[in-house]
Amino acid sequence: MVNIIDRRFTQKNESVEDRKRFIKRYKNHIKRAIRGAIAGESVKDFKFKDKKIKIKVEDMEDSLDIPSPQNNPDAGIYDYLHIGNEKYKKGNRVPRPRGVLGRGKQGSKDGRGKDEFEFTLTEKEFSDLFFEDLELPDMVKKRFTGDSYEIQRCGYSNTGGPSSLNVKQTILRAFMRRYALKKKMDKDEEKQLQEFLNKNKKKIHFLEDVDLRYNYRDRVDIPSTKAVMFLLMDVSGSMGEREKDIAKRFFLLMNMFLNRNYTTVDVVFVRHAEWAEECDEQTFFYGQESGGTVISAGLEKINEIINSRYNPELWNIYVAQASDGDNWGQDNNLVRDLLTKSLLPVTQYYSYIEIVEKDESEKKEVYDLFKEISGGFKNLHARLITDYKDIFEAFRSLFKKDKSK
């Protein structure tokens, strides 16, 4: 009999460790590739899934591949052989070929050529790399609401059902008790004990009721981390398709990031022009509206929703606002009041992005206003975005890990 072992169901999967090291080594390249992949992705389909990543081997400034001393494939004088000659005769001269005839195609050692190295990241690896170095701003509220709890083991009790009897602890106590009785006694003490036993007609039992110990389980409240994210967008006439698209991408990132950190995330869409209303996702992004812009209307709406549905004591509140920087001039004071008095004190984090054209980046009244307020409130951050490629950078800068900590 020869040994035949079926390994199909007991896979060792040893390549996992090597794979981890490979990803670690090429981390910077992969990150760059991820950024590229996001730029080309359509907003609707984008989510964390297993993702194909292409790394350009040529791009690597510092060659991470292991170099080994090689011969120049085409330099100097050398001979080589081929198979299947149909037309050449001795002494024929052939123009120096590219590819098949020459060795050009086999230039790289493994025949892969120096184009792109493509492989697939799993969902987990992808999101880990994607959000690496980012963290939630501090002050996460965790409250014992009582609606989420866990049954945990909490030591032992001396009452309980037979099924929860802890044998080890029980035997341990029985041993202790009987060992204590074995201690050296005076004759008097021994006599006393003997008399006591005789009188009560008892023997020293292996187990007594006092020895019994039961596992004890208790309900332990766990703090719930609930978050609500308000997405506030200007839908007035001045917001074009481009601005909306950029805002959407930014909101998507924000949503994914919060989902990683909280067990439940509510998303509330609020759109505003001169008025404000809560709406669903479809209308939020694709609804056609026109009119002037009054930011304070939107802020008031959010404040109203918070007061009615999301108790700041229980919820972590995030607001992400996107606008093109237009506002009715006299509204600014109202905005300042609303922010500093009612909204900023209760929110975890308030991010404001202003989407502007490159050439009109000096027109940023609202941005300046937010910047000014953010001096007093650390949970308010404002950024300017001029192009698609800024989105990821803006997002990163908003949530960058505080290195001073």
Binding site: M1, V2, N3, I4, I5, D6, R7, R8, Q11, K12, N13, E14, S15, E17, D18, R19, K20, R21, F22, I23, K24, R25, S63, I66, P67, S68, P69, Q70, N71, N72, D74, A75, G76, I77, Y78, D79, Y80, L81, H82, I83, G84, N85, E86, Y88, K89, K90, G91, N92, R93, V94, R96, P97, V100, L101, G102, Q106, D110, G111, F117, F119
Partner: protein, 487 residues
């Protein structure tokens, strides 16, 4: 005879049966001697994993992860067909079979790997001299745990850097000839005994305690080809565990070295015998007609050789070339022509089984071509030889499959199969250990502008991680001009 199997689905007992029949024929009829196999049936992922590390037990390194991803992508995109089996030069021979092979395919890969390759591993003199099939698995296990321990103790980064440098210079970590010459038989026996004992329990402690020898001076001109071994022995900057790690790496490379130089022979031998064995199975009535057709389909797929004008042409197929060389020996023994009598008088009228096995025992790729390439193969393959001079914008045909060019074609093919002759020639001239610790490296060009300077200097920079003192490189060009640089 009854059929070996009724349908394409195999079971463990049917595999046992197939192996028993194949083994009997191989030993009794074909006089093959092979290691006892140890079959494992694995999934496609694990097959790739084994393939990417090139040994079932391997230390961890990122490059294997990269290999795996690369292979995975190639298979997914249908760039290469999946390996049906992998076998290793170990005793017992570890043989991995792919789970979704049909019964016929399992019989084929058993005949190919567990008989063909395994017999070649056990019989070929070059392989036997350079490798010890019995001790390699314990050694690799040992190395794996050693690397893991080092990563914990001294940091994964340092280990990775050393392994990077080692892999970079892996072609220069081989002893091509054994150096000490022993004439005394008793001494030789003692030495072998000692080596065996040493191999069985490689003692890290004892090896690590040894002080590096500091006697070597530049004047002594060691001319060492084995760069890594020299560095491990003499580098003043290395810690004992680092020396051990490099030495272990050298040993692994030494193990793979003969396999690189016998690839064509090895694949040819396995292909030749799987063909003979499967034909014999069919003759004896073990295989149905359809099964035999399925076998032929795979067989011809493996041995496919396109001509140079074909769009899928990828150079010479080692399976095909090897197979044809052995098949030619059989043909010459059985039906020699007048030409064969002139070129291969030693084969005429001999037993073909003995002659094929004799060839497998006594040669390596280059010498095998030299000995057995026949003018008929050159004609059938329509081989031609080009000469390329980078100063001209054309290449010249210097030999075709005409009979008068035969020797030139043969010499060209021989050079084609000598893997190490195609690498730059680098040796260590010496090291001044008592002076400023410079390492003197010699690079000699065998043909003009042959050495790719970029890759050379990149890898020598890695060498500097192992020898953190000046490296003096003497570069002798084809015209005997010398350039000296210090890194």
């Amino acid at each position: 005879m009854s059929k070996l199997f009724d349908n394409a689905d195999w079971t463990e007992s049917s595999l046992q049966e197939i192996w028993q029949v194949i083994k009997d024929i191989a030993i009794n009829e074909f006089k093959l001697d092979f290691y006892d196999p140890y079959f494992e049936v694995v999934t496609f992922e694990e097959m790739l994993q084994i393939y990417s590390t090139s040994f079932p037990v391997m230390y961890n390194h990122w490059s294997f992860g990269k290999n795996y991803e690369d292979l995975y992508r190639q298979y997914k995109n249908n760039r290469t067909s999946i390996a049906y089996e992998v076998i290793f030069n170990t005793s017992p021979a570890l043989c991995y079979l792919l789970e979704n092979n049909s019964s016929v395919m399992q019989a084929l890969v058993m005949a190919h790997a567990a008989v063909g390759h395994s017999a070649f591993f056990k019989m070929n003199a070059f392989l036997r001299e350079n490798t010890n099939a019995k001790t390699i698995i314990p050694f690799m296990k040992n190395m794996r745990t050693f690397v893991q321990d080092c990563e914990v103790k001294y940091g994964a980064d340092r280990v990775e850097k050393i392994l990077d440098a080692c892999i970079s210079l892996s072609a220069y970590s081989i002893d091509r000839a054994e150096k000490p010459v022993y004439t005394n038989k008793q001494k030789e026996a003692k030495r072998i005994k000692r080596l065996d004992a040493k191999e069985q329990d490689f003692d890290i402690l004892v090896e690590g305690m040894k002080d590096p020898d500091t006697k070597i001076e530049k004047k002594e001109r060691v001319n060492e080809e084995n760069l890594l071994k020299f560095v491990a022995k003499y580098s003043p900057g290395l810690k004992p565990w680092e020396r051990d790690l490099i030495n272990m790496f050298c040993k692994v490379e030494q193990y793979f070295y003969p396999q690189r130089l016998t690839k064509t022979m090895n694949e040819g031998f396995a292909s030749f015998w799987h063909y003979e064995l499967m034909t014999r199975l069919s003759e004896l009535g073990y295989l149905k007609g359809g099964d035999f057709m399925e076998f032929l389909h795979s067989h011809t797929g493996v041995l496919c050789q396109h001509g140079m004008e074909h769009k899928y042409y990828r150079g010479l197929n080692p399976y095909k070339m090897g197979y044809e060389l052995y098949a030619e020996i059989k043909r010459i023994c059985l039906n020699p022509t007048e030409e064969d009598k002139k070129y291969f008088p030693q084969l005429i009228g001999k037993n073909w089984i003995d002659e094929v096995n004799y060839a497998a025992i006594n040669f390596r790729d280059a010498s095998f071509i030299q000995q057995y390439l026949s003018p008929k193969i050159v004609r059938d393959f329509k081989l031609l030889k080009f000469n390329s001079d980078s100063r001209n914008d054309y290449v010249e045909v210097t030999a075709t499959h005409d009979t008068e060019d035969f020797k030139e074609i043969r010499a060209g093919l021989e050079a084609h199969y000598d893997y190490y002759s195609r690498l730059p020639y680098i040796t260590i001239e010496g090291a001044s250990l008592k002076g400023n610790r410079t390492l003197y490296i010699n690079v000699i060009e065998k043909r003009p502008k042959e050495v790719d300077e970029e890759s050379l200097y990149y890898s020598l920079c890695l060498l500097k991680k192992l020898w953190p003192y000046p490296l003096n490189i003497k570069y002798t060009s084809y015209n005997k001009e010398q350039i000296q640089t210090t890194l």
